[in-house]
């Protein structure tokens, strides 16, 4: 088997900029092997979400290529892109559940849109998906009746509805209580292994992510500055990675937003 066949995603030399002045990503190279859980980490504004959108085909790279399952995303037309997305699942930061549909209908959404399955079979599938996230009893509720953690779990059940080959998580741990956080964290790993899929977790919650992922890519200001296994990241002596992993207030990433000198600001000479 060739090396390439083992990688679900190959990103080479990818750059992205909105216009000439606002460059978001430059020269990103990364590979994501099948069956693995890979984290993309970095502080807010480092370009993580943009990278995720490039992988999902929502944006096209201005330089370089993104290859998913042997296909270059920029070569796909709309039909091709939609065909590819049917095999992807994405968990949005706050769930993004359809507020006009019940929990049941949210999970059934893709099954109804993309398959011709009879309603009885959809019922069984929805119940299985909800059971996996522990919310089978909540299938009649509306999204407005769910807590933040429950909404995230329903969204997870919805994202895995069609057993995707690739799962993408955009900040899955943000704003959750410790119990929900633990549940979501374990689900990310369990679902990946149970479905035999591949997962990308975009996050800045370091410790939660390092416990469950196989490999970490670290982004800073649109550049891939480090990558390695969680153990390598924890042991890293690179000052940027060290500051990030151990959450130190000062280091290469300054605590203060660029400003004039403090005594000038207060007009003390």
């Amino acid at each position: 088997m060739s090396v390439a066949a083992d990688n679900l995603i190959e990103i080479s030399g990818v750059g992205y900029s909105y216009d000439r002045r606002r460059t978001i990503l430059t020269g990103i190279d990364m590979v994501i092997p099948r069956g693995k859980v890979v984290a993309i980490m970095g502080i807010s504004g480092s370009g993580k979400t943009t990278l995720l959108r490039l992988i999902g085909g929502a944006l096209k790279p201005t330089q370089g290529t993104v290859k998913i399952n042997g296909q270059f995303t920029h070569e796909l037309d709309r039909e091709g892109l939609y065909r590819m997305r049917r095999r992807m699942g994405m968990l949005f930061q706050f769930g993004a559940l359809f507020t006009d549909l019940s929990v049941y209908d949210n999970v059934a959404f893709q099954m109804r849109e993309h398959t011709a399955l009879p309603e009885e079979m959809i019922h069984d599938l929805v119940m299985m998906k909800l059971h996996a996230v522990g919310l089978r009893g909540a299938h009649r509720l509306m999204p407005s009746e769910l807590s933040g953690g429950m909404a995230r779990r329903v969204a997870l059940a919805r994202a895995t509805a069609l057993d995707p080959m690739l799962m993408m998580y955009d900040e899955p741990f943000t704003g959750l209580d410790p119990i929900s956080l633990g549940v979501i964290r374990n689900l990310v790993r369990k679902l990946n292994d149970a479905l035999g899929s591949t997962s990308i977790v975009v996050t800045h919650d370091v410790q939660e992510a390092l416990d469950i992922v196989d490999y970490v890519y670290y982004l800073s200001e649109g550049v891939m500055v480090a990558h390695g296994t969680p153990a390598e990241m924890r042991a890293s002596t690179d000052p940027l990675v060290h500051q990030f992993v151990w959450g130190e207030p000062d280091g290469p990433v300054a605590y203060q937003y660029p400003s004039k000198k403090f005594n000038e600001e207060l007009e003390l000479v």
Binding site: R83, M90, Q93, F94, A96, T99, F109, E113
Partner: protein, 265 residues
């Protein structure tokens, strides 16, 4: 030669002009995509029926009550004027023609824009702000086909029906005030109305107007929602723009349509 203020003003005018033309282009592309993607909504009528309930049925109360009051005012004011010339028997004609040709389509469209149009903009804007539209895209479902198209057709279908209800209710209001309260002769009220109101000239033209208004309102409302900045401020601004722009569009279009429709009459 020119001071700085003048240059900035000229630049702003240019900026706004280019911006408006760009937005007009986006809006045109948006309606074209909506029409192209409408096939799916007609295959799944359930989606349109659901939206018909939210835009049409829920607007009925305000339309019926307003229609009744407008008709009553017409009956009262019409009687005052016609009585001066001793022609109060023509009250039925005045009430019916005013409603069917102008007030029915225009007033119901204005009410529809503020009741249903603003709701559409707010709903779609919030769906965008909470990433529901992006989520749909990522699930390989086109939001224009699934969310926008059914709402568009529901608006276009319900507008003429609401206008017809408004006019019918208005005629009844005019009857209540003119015949029941003031005592105009019931026979001449109805018979003159029947002979003066022409189906092709008056009723069909009124229906055409309300269909045009329905297209304009839903187009503006859906585009403003879809194009809203995904923040609380963005959605509230878009909702306001929907009501203002569609009200102005209704009145402007009404003038143009009237000028074409009732040239000889």
């Amino acid at each position: 030669m020119f001071n700085r203020g003048t240059i900035i003003n000229v630049r702003n005018v240019g900026h706004h002009t280019v911006d408006s033309i760009l937005r007009l282009g986006y809006a045109t592309r948006f309606i074209a995509l909506t029409l192209l993607n409408s096939g799916n909504s007609f295959l799944r009528v359930r989606l349109i029926i659901r939206e018909l309930y939210f835009t049409g049925v829920l607007s009925m109360i305000i339309i019926l009550i307003s229609g009744l009051f407008v008709g009553m005012v017409l009956g009262y004011q019409g009687y005052q004027t016609l009585n001066t010339y001793g022609s109060e028997s023509a009250l039925g004609v005045l009430v019916a023609l005013s409603l069917v040709r102008e007030l029915g389509p225009v007033m119901s469209a204005l009410l529809f824009a503020s009741r249903a149009g603003s709701a559409m903009t707010a709903e779609i804007g919030l769906m965008k702000a909470t990433e529901q539209l992006s989520a749909m895209e990522m699930m390989a479902v086109d939001p224009i086909a699934r969310v926008v198209a059914p709402r568009f057709w529901a608006g276009v279908i319900s507008m003429p029906l609401l206008a017809a209800m408004f006019s019918a209710m208005g005629v009844y209001g005019g009857y209540l005030v003119g015949v029941v309260i003031i005592g105009v002769d019931e026979g001449s009220f109805w018979s003159q109305m029947q002979s003066a109101v022409d189906f092709r000239e008056d009723i069909v033209n009124g229906v055409i107007k309300s269909v045009v208004f329905g297209v304009a309102i839903t187009w503006i409302a859906l585009f403003e929602g879809y194009d809203a900045l995904p923040t609380a401020e963005g959605v509230s601004g878009a909702t306001t723009r929907t009501v203002v722009t569609s009200s102005l569009a209704i009145l402007g279009l009404d003038f143009i349509l009237t000028a074409f429709m009732f040239q000889g009459a």
